[in-house]
Symmetry: C2
Subunit: 378 residues, 2 copies
């Protein structure tokens, strides 16, 4: 009972099938574009001299992570311990959990995972550090911990200055713990539309990380790395010299929300590789057709999907399992049974709804990859 | 490779464990409340004389469906064919798919499913009916089809009147097909806040179903049932006498969005049975704490979760895996490591994120049920 199989892949998702035979909804990835995006970010990091540790919260998929490592990434990030467990079980061996892990169950699991891979996690509270120290000591492992810096977004993190220094000092003086740097990531600014405003916001956050790093240096505490930065801000984070390591995730896939950002002039370009494959299941009227993909296939948190190839058409959410496509007067409309590839509003929660990534090149299925971190929220 | 296990249940989710030992995020159901909700709706249906066919899109769980059947439900609804397949595989034997099934792959699967259970599906297009007729004839089964009526929400359905009659007539005259009634459901009005306005909207939709039914009668086509109605409108749908069968789903769990509805005076009361169990993973400041449940654990489409027992505190989404709890000046706050039970904004997409329902009575785990329809979008 406690081990249940996942959903099987959609019908027709077999290597060699033409895309039109893949049933819907299905999550598609164009491997040519994915490979190009991975190479582009790897080149940026190499040219800029920052380490690249892509965030696997976007893809939750071991095959994508392995491509990133093969292209030069130093390791991966995960947001949750269960994501890290799933990816280590699938063969990845260097994972930073960019989050606090609180409570005896998670600390026990972190100690266990540290026996099998190079892992690190974040802290922002001395009580948590004390529990981690006790568990590491009892478990006979060394846990690498980064201090998360409050970079001004009202979420987690210790204020730069004395609080960060005290945490790092406690870590360094605890047998079983190792201070592995500062975590400084600000999610809320990744989608500031104006490149100039996004740059200013990134630099303001980075300034707090710089203060924290200098406070450590003033107390003689060595800081191996400052890590952070997402697909919206990595060129700005890299240019200041505060970050040694960047953590972009969405660049492998991109989404409709990122497409609305004004790109930074210093950023390389990424193309859309992720699509939700959907069928017209009703064509009741000349002003609309209805797709079989609603909010359970296309999370609406960052706006509706776009429909490449149909610039006049607009997707309007119509419930958990329906999407209405509004057809303006005089515009052509897809017909009953026709399949459309939609660009999701937000790639991360979209991927989290699917058990399989259907990999396509030139509209032919070439592979089907399990999303091993799907639902890995704990 | 093509059969992958689901995520395991959260640590501590073992029968006999106290709730505080269950790790987070986890999806909890209070079985005493669930049982009471199921009994309450069954009594309403029995007293009103309508058939009850609860919608399994809300729970996607065979154990919940079996409780509903045991209490008198005539069968269940599913929104997707893969949901129906998962629930039939788990032992349910009477399923209405409240949606159009378009394309050869789905039609093949519907024919196959009809060999193993009493199934029905909806149609709104003569081309789809022709394909279903050909498949049923070739597959040597009789497919029960309901005509979906366009009840004015701009989604699927044939207009009441001649279009509905023509579809029913085609079904009746096709060997291998059986006309099984009218489907008339309007999702968008379930959350109209004012009971009077919700009643008016339900009656307006029901009036279109009544016109369709009378058009069929005028042509001598027998209509076994009109089915529809959700947790927000079922008392209004039942009172008009148009619906023979109601399809409420959310009543088993309820959610923060339904709690904002003004209840109908004729409706029985349902209580909250579904919760997302979450841990305070950061307590960085007196004005906030941070929970380990973000939009990947609590979909934000119908507003934020509420926090029972902490009336002064407000949940604010802070990304895919973080939830900030805003603590007003002078208010008590939960402490680092403390666990909170949140009421999700919208039960249906919340359930769809979890592989397991952790069943609790009096804060002790009594069972763990697989959400067999999780991710069943195709």
């Amino acid at each position: 009972m406690r081990s249940q199989p996942r959903m099987r892949p959609p019908d027709g998702a077999e290597p060699g099938s033409v895309l039109d035979h893949v049933d819907t909804p299905a999550l598609l990835v164009d491997l040519d574009v994915l490979d190009a995006n991975i190479a582009t970010m790897a080149s940026f990091a190499a040219e800029t001299g920052v380490s690249l540790r892509p965030h696997a919260k976007a893809h939750k998929c071991a095959e994508v992570a392995r491509k990133q490592i093969a292209a030069g990434a130093v390791g991966i990030c995960c947001q949750k311990l269960s994501e890290a467990e799933a990816l280590v079980a699938a063969g990845l061996d260097d994972v930073l959990v960019t989050n606090e892990l609180v409570g005896p169950a998670k600390i026990r699991r972190l100690v266990e995972l540290a026996r099998h891979a190079t892992v690190a996690a974040c802290v922002d509270d001395p009580r948590n550090v004390a529990e981690l120290a006790a568990a590491a000591h009892g478990g006979d492992v060394v846990l690498a911990l980064l201090v998360e810096v409050d970079i001004g977004d009202g979420r987690c993190g210790a204020p730069p200055g004395e609080a960060v220094v005290a945490l790092a000092d406690t870590i360094e003086s605890s047998p079983g713990l190792r201070f592995a740097g500062l975590h400084a990531y600000r999610g809320g600014i990744q989608h500031v539309r104006s490149a100039a405003e996004r740059r200013d916001a990134a630099h303001a956050a980075d300034e707090r990380a710089r203060i924290a790093r200098e406070a450590l240096a003033a107390r003689g505490i060595r800081c191996d790395r400052v890590t952070g930065g997402g697909t919206g801000t990595f060129p700005f984070d890299a240019e200041l010299g505060v970050h040694d390591e960047i953590q972009p995730g969405s660049y492998v896939f991109m989404d409709a929300d990122y497409a609305r950002n004004e790109p930074a002039s210093t950023a390389p370009a990424f193309a859309q590789s992720l699509f939700v494959w959907s069928t017209v299941m009703s064509a009741p009227s000349s002003d609309r057709v209805v797709l079989d993909a609603g909010t359970k296939s296309l999370p609406p948190d960052s706006g509706p999907p776009t429909i490449p190839g149909w610039p006049n058409l607009e997707y309007r959410s119509a419930g958990d399992e329906h999407g209405v496509v509004v057809v303006p007067p005089g515009s052509a409309a897809p017909s009953l049974g026709e399949k459309l590839a939609l660009v999701p509003g937000h790639c991360d929660p979209t991927v989290n709804l699917y058990d399989w990534l259907v990999c396509v090149r030139d509209r032919v299925v070439v592979d089907v990859w399990p999303v091993v971190g799907r639902g890995a929220s704990y």
